[in-house]
Amino acid sequence: MNKPDLPNSFRNGPDERGHFGNYGGRFVAETLMPLILELEKAYEAAKADPAFAAEIASLHTHYVGRPSPLYFAERLTEHCGGAKIYFKRDELNHTGAHKINNVLGQILLAMRMGKTRIIAETGAGQHGVATATACARFGLPCVVYMGAVDVERQKPNVFRMKMLGAEVVPVQSGARTLKDAMNEALRDWVTNVDDTFYCIGTAAGPHPYPAMVRDFQSIIGTEVRTQMQAAEGRLPDSLVACIGGGSNAIGLFHPFLDDAGIEIFGVEAAGHGLDTKAHAASLAGGKPGVLHGNRTYLLMDDDGQIEEGHSISAGLDYPGIGPEHAWLKDMGRVNYLSATDAGALDAFQLCCRLEGIIPALEPAHALAAVLELAPKRPRDHLMVMNMCGRGDKDIFTVADHLGGM
């Protein structure tokens, strides 16, 4: 019998070695390996403990404000003249983005493991803010590594983190953006192995992080299933989400991967365009390689040296992507598209004016794809876009680009 091209389920990954097909794995220094194995064990135990789930559920309800609404974007739907567009409103979460879903899970796990110090990396600052928030809530010291360039362009979030009691360390090494912040966090972790928990912000890094972050974010898709049944009496026809590392996207997609009829679209940041060097579309413009603990698609030169991603959105300009997305691309289960800086800016403004919602620049990329996809679909097509963050942090960036408005 020939080996089947497609798996029986797209939801069974990763395997016991942390691989999604050829991607994922545990490419870390020996110092960290025992910690990662310990983390995996602790996470498996927590998953099997109903008290852990109950604790997360309670925080979701009373602290985060979940479930986030599934909102029918009526005027945007009229504007597009095709599919019925829904927003999953994760920008209404406490701290203003989906990041808190993952952080609460990891911080609860860290406390179960007896860790007393939390470190995190952040690009746009949303994960840093969420981590600083959870650490304040649970009384844990928190150090956030942030590229010096990002510290400059995301000042409001730097202030937020500091007000929440976190120490923000501007990273001066390399290109001084997200990937360098992640390098520096790994260096901290390797130095402080005994007491420190590394709270990774996206569905990437060494196993078990990609699977663990996905599981914590899957609340997004799980809620959508229930909410769409309630609103329309059936499941959606398509899903759209932006992708940097890909945690909000995998959180929305994963509960639907085995619903074969549902079209799924991930939207990468095309920056100035895929034909330029200035983009962050690792799937469209990268190749498989190994960085930050996992094999995945990376932006790099022909010597395997990592290149910088560019996007108007600081949350999307990572030169890699979570390994599960790399696998889903190769399997053809998810369609990966891209949106340029200009497309995202147009979508941003349209969303402000038609829906009274200021989106973050990250989901503005997803929205740019919705504006392309929705008009081509019939009026009974149900499309869900993950509004994964709010745009307060981005208003100055947008104002700069639009000439001060």
Binding site: T31, G174, T191, K287
Partner: protein, 284 residues
């Protein structure tokens, strides 16, 4: 073990002294200077050479070695040039083992089979790839051993007795004991713990044990050399090289500065007080 590696450690044992393992980054600050430094190392007293393969994102390295990698890359260095450096070195020196040290991605992109063939042909003796733990052995370790290269593994203070056998299983050439948890160039090791750590590893293997991370001076080298089969010095050496540069470029003093520093380390290693050889032969 390659013949060169085997011969070198056998020779060290005969001399009843520890070896000196020196690390430099290939192509730092430029290919010609780096090649001259490499050629000067054996004469200055280096017994084994670790040659760093530059990578943009060296997650386990401190600022000194990060900067060295960036200088090399900026000057146009790439993996094929690292291999060419070894090939050139081998024209004059067929005795000093060379171990390439770095991260997996450049090798993966070069192509594992092609890399192993080219490395072997160039005269490389072993590989240390920081981000390939035993859990990923089938990536490079197993093919490297099959190709006749040593795969040298790092053991760390977090590698406990339960894990050591897995770490040592496919290790060959020598074991590189990282004496502190941290990045290269970080804290000074607690010398009093080096002896017991080396003994702990030796309970699990007959391979020579090299100790590194934090060794900065001839005196420090002597302390470690009293207990280990080899002493690894990296960051301190790169610091000396970096201080000799002018605006990131080599000066006429660069090669001599490194040579002088290595000579001092070699004296330190050779001055170490060691138990008589018989005392080390307590294994059946």
């Amino acid at each position: 073990m390659t013949a060169r590696m085997k011969a070198r450690f056998a020779d060290l044992k005969r001399q009843n002294r520890a070896g000196l393992v020196t690390f430099i980054t290939a192509g730092d600050p430029d290919d010609a200077t780096s090649a001259a430094v490499l050629r000067a190392l054996p004469g200055a007293g280096a017994d084994v050479i670790e040659l760093g393969m530059p990578f943009t994102d060296p997650m386990a390295d401190g600022p000194t070695i990060q900067a060295a990698a960036l200088r090399a890359l900026k000057a146009g260095h790439r993996l094929s040039k690292t291999l060419a450096m070894v090939r050139d070195f081998r024209r004059d020196d067929d005795a000093t083992p060379i171990v390439l040290m770095g991260y997996y991605n450049p090798i993966y992109v070069y192509g594992v089979d092609r890399f192993l063939a080219d490395a072997k042909e160039a005269g490389v003796d072993g590989l240390i790839v920081v981000d390939l733990p035993p859990e990923e052995d089938r990536e490079l370790c197993v093919p490297a051993l099959a190709a006749g290269l040593n795969f040298i593994r790092l053991a760390t203070p977090t590698t406990d007795d339960a894990r050591l056998p897995a770490v040592l299983k496919n290790t060959s050439g020598f074991v590189y004991y990282v004496s502190v948890n941290g990045i290269t160039g970080s804290a000074i090791p607690d010398y009093s713990r080096v002896a017991s750590s080396v003994q702990r590893i030796k309970r699990h293997t007959d391979l020579p044990v090299a100790v590194g991370f934090g060794v900065k001076t001839p005196e420090g080298a002597a302390e470690v050399a009293a207990h280990a089969d080899a002493v690894v010095v990296g960051t301190a050496l790169i610091d000396v090289l970096a201080r000799s540069l002018d605006g990131g470029r080599a000066t006429p003093t660069t090669v001599d500065a490194v040579r002088g520093f290595v000579e001092g380390l070699a004296r330190g290693v050779r001055s170490a007080k060691r138990p008589a050889p018989a005392a080390q032969e307590d294994r059946p």
